[in-house]
């Protein structure tokens, strides 16, 4: 990434900091106000599931593909789900083409952990033959327009695309190899995790940083929250330090905001009942 000073002028930087210290945001939001989220699903014909998510002007597209492969030896009866993120240079003058850098890998792993540790997907149903054949899901998130808080946008995109996914069913043929049984079925998803990110400047904490705030903040923290109002995963970004008290307070706030957001988004409406 480019030096942040190239993107936000000192003048703007000071202005944002001044506003935040007064409890105001540069885009007029309150400190704990989330940007508007818009979701479109099922628009990529060749993906098993897809989602196009706008978080304010931030845009993430996600597609789910599958493969059949061997399970991990410690989980021989469970399928595999991997999240990958691509910082495609289409999204921002700061992104460069090339292999995913540490920022992209971290984001992918944070989204991945949010899904993995929430009892989200029924991995046992992704097993075709124990120890030999399981479904491997690829959840690929493409950053299409970068205006801050890619973590939350990617998490929403990933779960919306997974909900939208229809996998072809498999049966074993005479040779014991998997074969299509002619049906498609949606994934079994128990929990819908959401990610809520907070930025921190000095001792001011605010939710869902936008691009210019992301450029000036000292650090941020992302919480994955499940439907049981539990925090299932935390990632701290940046060099800011957080007191235990701040972390506890912010966690509570995250659960509150996630609840509100979950009620507003009604993500289960993106489940696509297969027609076969």
């Amino acid at each position: 990434m480019m030096d942040i000073n190239d993107v936000v002028s000192n003048l703007e930087r000071n202005y944002i900091l001044k506003l935040l210290k007064q409890g105001k945001r540069i885009d007029g939001r309150g400190l704990f106000e989330y940007r508007e989220v818009k979701i479109k699903t099922g628009f990529i014909p060749k993906a098993e599931g897809s989602a196009d998510v706008f978080l304010g002007d931030t845009r993430v597209m996600c597609g789910v593909k599958y493969d059949i492969g061997a399970p991990f030896s410690d989980n021989p009866d469970k399928g595999v789900c991997t999240v990958m993120t691509e910082y495609v240079p289409i999204a921002s003058p700061m992104f460069e083409p090339g292999r995913p850098d540490e920022v992209a890998i971290q984001l992918a792993r944070v989204v991945d952990r949010g899904i993995r540790h929430t009892n989200c997907i029924d991995y046992k149903k992704l097993c075709i033959k124990e120890g030999e054949y399981v479904y491997i899901l690829f959840v690929d998130c493409y950053m299409m327009d970068y205006f801050g808080n890619l973590t939350d946008a990617s998490a929403i995109a990933a779960i919306a695309a997974l909900l939208n996914t229809n996998l072809p069913g498999a049966k074993l043929n005479e040779k014991g190899e998997p074969e299509w049984d002619g049906t498609y079925a949606p994934l079994t998803i128990y929990e819908i995790p959401l990610s809520i990110s907070f930025g921190k400047v000095g001792d001011v904490i605010f939710v869902d940083p936008n691009l210019s705030e992301e450029m000036v903040l000292d650090g941020s923290i992302a919480f994955a929250v499940d439907e049981k109002k539990q925090v299932t995963s935390i990632q701290k970004y940046g060099s800011a330090t957080w007191t235990v008290n701040e972390i506890m307070e912010t966690s509570k706030k995250a659960i509150e905001i996630a609840d509100e957001l979950r009620a507003k988004l009604k993500l289960r409406q993106h489940v696509q009942q297969s027609n076969s």
Binding site: F43, I44, P45, K46, A47, E48, S50, D57, R59, M61, G63, V64, K65, Y66, D67, I68, G69, M84, E86, V88, P89, I90, A91, S92, P93, E96, P97, R99, P100, Y133, F138, D140, Y142, M144, D145, Y146, F147, P168, A170, P178, E179, W180
Partner: protein
């Protein structure tokens, strides 16, 4: 391990009624639509839907070249990155760019270079990023169409728009705009990019079996199809500005609802600001003359403000005299109004003389 649902690979490309599988005639395009300004961060961007292709293109630049050694001192460089999303094809594609993507990036670059004025951007680069979100055959053509739109949207001067469209052959028939299946099982494929200004071809590839006559027919189809897409490109570019002007009209209408009040308050405030001043000086004045009063008051003020600080020595005297005489003149003009028409002349003459002496 192959995936569960294989793609159909029988050779059938025509229905029983002689039309193509999607119901098209041999020289008919797939449904095409396009849009510009779809990515806010980019200088210019475009979305092209061609059949089931879903392709985004974005322009960044002209900007500094990284790495520096690629920069040319006499001209700018164009860099095209054609990439397919992992979920854009039937079997998941690895995210790392492969040889096919690198080759297509190069041919698209060479299709765009002839319509750009790269010599106008020494030491800089223009980057074209193309992301194929859904692939449905003919992606390099649709990508070039998208890139051309995005370049125009970015305001980069171009000699002409370019349009990509393919011809081909399946089951012995020459076809325009191959679909996914026709592309894979057909006998021949000629992706072309047409420079619309002079109908020359700036991208040309061909594989398969075709006679020269068939190829000529294919080119005829291509030129016909390109014209249709070109019109849609122009429409999309115009639509962007139509949208802006519609938005401006709405804002104008909203403003004009509010402004009458604003204008009144504004004029009132100026009136109140000036009138006490003028009334101080000319207490006895009639209301009808108040407009003139304000004007003269302005005259009174302006020379003082502009001249006194900058002038030196003897000149200050004259300027002060000027000012005072202008002030007198104005006063007389206003107080005496119509009667004073002849009496205006002497002070003016008196004013002219001293300035003339000084010079």
């Amino acid at each position: 391990m192959p995936i569960l649902v294989p793609e159909p690979h029988d050779e059938v490309c025509f229905r029983e009624d002689g039309k193509r599988l999607d119901g098209r005639a041999v020289d008919e395009l797939r449904p095409f639509s396009c849009e510009v300004g779809v990515i806010k961060n980019a200088q210019g961007s475009a979305l092209v839907r061609h059949g089931k292709n879903l392709i985004y293109a974005a322009i960044y630049g002209p900007r500094e070249v990284h790495p520096r050694h690629l920069a040319r001192p006499d001209r700018g460089i164009l860099r095209v990155y054609y990439r397919m999303a992992t979920f854009s094809v039937h079997e998941r594609k690895s995210p790392a760019p492969n040889r096919r993507e690198n080759e297509i990036s190069k041919v698209i670059r060479e299709a765009l270079e002839p319509v750009l004025f790269l010599e106008a951007y020494p030491d800089s680069q223009i980057e074209v990023y193309i992301e194929v979100i859904a692939a449905d055959g003919g992606t390099r053509c649709a990508s070039t169409t998208a890139a051309s739109l995005a370049l125009a949207d970015a305001g980069i001067p171009m000699k002409s728009m370019v349009v990509g469209v393919a011809a081909g052959k399946a089951q012995g028939k020459v076809l325009l705009d191959l679909g996914d299946k026709e592309d894979k099982v057909g006998q021949a494929d000629i992706p072309c990019v047409v420079v619309m200004k002079d109908k020359s071809i700036s991208l040309l590839q061909f594989d398969g079996e075709m006679t020269l006559e068939e190829m000529k027919l294919g080119f005829e189809y291509v030129l016909k199809g390109a014209e249709i897409i070109y019109q849609k490109q122009l429409e999309a570019l115009r639509e962007k500005y139509n949208k802006i002007s519609r938005q401006a009209e709405i804002e104008d209408a909203e403003l004009s609802k509010e402004t009458p009040k604003e204008e009144k308050t504004a004029s009132e405030s100026t009136d109140t600001a000036v009138s006490p001043e003028s009334s101080d000086i000319f207490k006895s004045d009639v209301e009808a003359e108040s407009a003139e009063n304000t004007r003269s008051a302005e005259i009174n003020e302006t020379p003082e403000a502009s001249e006194t600080p900058s002038t030196e020595g003897s000149e200050t005297k004259t300027s002060q005299e000027d000012v005072s005489s202008v002030g007198k003149e104005a006063k007389e003009e206003n107080t005496l109004s119509e009667e004073s028409a002849p009496s205006e002349v002497p002070p003016q003459a008196g004013e002219d003389n001293p300035t003339g002496d000084d010079k």
